[in-house]
């Protein structure tokens, strides 16, 4: 039950989805299975929310380190849930869009979610700059190649590149930094990314096959009973 049933489910679902590509009458099965998958994905969101609540309630009840912040998480969670799941503060009907301008849900989205989400990533600009100063060193030939390529891209993707090398004549225009940046992206970058992509692609294909055939079982966890 704990092991064979999941293995059988993975095999049947995986096989149906592969065969549905080759056998048109099975296309409908493929659509159904993916629609089921989409619906289960929502339950996974609920699992995530439930787990978050459990972790923070435990932290709160046991007065663990930084427990007052768990109140913030829980309050934020409940407030957004009230506005979203229970549609409190939504002026429209029950079937109206949640993200309508003026609804409480959209207001929290615009005033809390957006500034927090975007500033979290904006912080990385500072760390990238710090890393450039401290860690981006031409220690060997490979690192120097990386550095030169980065330089050309940094220059070439701004108007600076044109300002610096705009004077280069047309018959040598590949030496203009913006053109060089485009060439790097279209040629060596493309080649390198493609080599990585082919490697990853093969990895995904072989892993998918191992999962469907039940050779790869780590996703079932360690308990074999």
């Amino acid at each position: 039950m704990k092991r064979n049933v999941p293995l059988a489910i993975t095999f049947i679902v995986g096989a149906v989805l592969i065969f549905s590509v080759f056998i048109p009458p099975m296309e409908n099965w493929g659509e159904d299975f993916t629609l089921f998958f989409d619906i289960i994905a929502v339950f996974a969101f609920f699992l995530g929310g439930g787990n978050l609540l459990r972790v923070h309630l435990t932290k709160l009840s046991r007065r663990k380190q930084d427990w007052p912040y768990s109140i913030v998480t829980i309050m934020g969670f409940l407030l957004m849930l009230a506005a979203g799941l229970f549609r409190i503060g939504n002026p429209g009907d029950i079937n109206a869009s949640l993200t309508e301008q003026g609804s409480l849900f959209q207001t929290i989205y615009d005033s809390v979610f957006v500034p927090l989400g975007s500033t979290m990533y904006a912080l990385l600009a500072f760390f990238v700059a710090s890393a450039s100063y401290r860690a981006f060193r031409a220690k060997n030939r490979e690192a120097t190649i990386l550095l030169v390529a980065a330089f050309i891209i940094l220059l070439g993707r701004t108007p600076l590149g044109t300002i610096v090398t705009g004077w280069v004549p047309e018959s040598f225009s590949i030496l203009q930094i913006p053109n060089l940046a485009i060439w790097i992206m279209n040629s060596p970058n493309l080649a390198g990314q493609r080599a990585i992509m082919i490697g990853i692609g093969l990895g995904v294909v072989s892993m998918s096959l191992r999962l469907i055939l039940g050779i790869e079982r780590t996703y079932l966890g360690g308990d074999d009973k």
Binding site: V21, E27, G30, E31, T34, L35, F37, D38, I39, A41, V42, F45, N95, A96, S97, L98, T99, E100, Q101, Q106, Y109, D110, F113, V114, P115, G117, S118, M120, Y121, A125, F126, V128, A129, S130, S132, Y133, R134, A135, F136, R137, A138, K139, L147, A150, F151, L154, L155, R157, T158, P159, L160, P178, I182, M185, N186, N189, L190, Q193, R194, M197
Partner: protein, 317 residues
């Protein structure tokens, strides 16, 4: 007239601000360089301050550069230009607020372009946050600039569905099965935009705006390649280099990062002068972008000078 009468050296407040801020940054970098020569490290907060100043100064004293579309951006623009009015374009908002400063300008510019060309747009999203981001396009672009365009007739928002690539695997054969209604509950069959559209295979163009997973890669793998659907994209800079292997065979063009967005805005204004007064956030952002790139390049050079001096010292020992 007045400008002719003004002396050639007359400076505006913005010019003075530009000169002062450049002087401050140049002075700071010189100080950093001198410290590097003396083999002295600086605190990371100083580096942070440099970046902050180099971003803030060009925002307060803006300099707008003209951009020329690179081939990969021009391909997207030309594809939209080549579509006859009435063609249906799907615009997928596959991004969250974290990517929005880079890709929202793309979504807005492409929306403007499609609407002015008389194309019909289906808006959807693979990120739940995309639905909220579409509200921004609706309120800031569609409603004020295209008041004659009618929801459900000229454009429709079918919103978000959970399931990432699972959503795409259904709509490649059957739209209605996945999206029985639009976001306001209007049934699929009552939406004029969907007339004659059964699946993604019937679309004239799909453009994914995003930068994460699910995004353009999933659109290519699950819709573009199996359905032979023309796919273009606007992606965050972090993802752009990864997508080049798909260009041009599997993805007809791409707007990469804020530079791609600025090139597209520039191309749009060039072809449609009526958008001259429309917001061009990406073009405005190229000022701070340029200065920040310059400062980071200076950091790399100074950092390497420091490294070389230390290595030299190490060898002597």
């Amino acid at each position: 007239m007045t400008s002719h009468l003004m002396p050639p050296l007359a400076l505006t407040l913005v010019d003075i601000g530009r000169i002062l801020s450049l002087a401050v940054i140049a002075g700071g970098l010189l100080w950093l360089f001198l410290r590097a020569i003396k083999r002295k490290e600086v605190e990371r907060r100083v580096i942070f301050l440099f970046i902050f100043v180099s971003v803030v100064a060009p925002i307060l004293f803006p300099t707008v550069f003209q951009e020329k579309a690179t081939p990969i951006v021009k391909d997207v623009f030309d594809k939209i230009e080549s579509l006859p009015p009435g063609s249906v374009v799907l615009l997928s908002y596959d991004f969250d607020p974290a990517m929005a400063p880079e890709v929202q300008p793309m979504a807005d510019a492409i929306s403007r372009h499609c609407l002015v060309r008389g194309l019909k747009i289906i808006y959807m999203c693979l990120f739940a946050t995309g639905q909220g981001q579409f509200t921004s396009t609706l309120e800031n672009v569609i409603k004020p600039e295209f008041p004659d365009k009618v929801n459900l007739v000229d454009y429709v928002n079918i919103g978000y569905k959970a399931g990432n690539e699972g959503v795409l695997n259904v709509i490649i054969t059957d739209f209605k099965k996945m999206f029985p209604t639009d976001v306001d509950g209007v049934p699929y069959d009552s939406i004029a935009v969907f007339k004659g559209i059964r699946s993604c295979k019937d679309l004239d163009l799909v453009i994914s705006i995003g930068g994460g997973k699910p995004g353009i890669k999933e659109w290519i793998l699950f819709v573009g390649d199996p359905g032979n659907v023309p796919i273009a994209s606007g992606v965050a800079a972090v993802v752009a280099p990864l997508m080049y292997p798909y260009y041009p065979a599997q993805m007809l063009g791409m707007l990469g990062g804020i530079k791609g967005a600025a090139e597209y805005e520039s191309e749009l204004v060039h072809h449609y002068p009526q958008f001259k007064n429309s917001p061009t956030p990406a073009l405005l952002m190229m000022g701070p972008q340029t200065l920040a790139h310059l400062v980071i390049m200076a950091f790399i050079v100074i950092g390497n000078i420091l490294y070389l001096l230390e290595r030299k010292k190490g060898r002597k020992r």
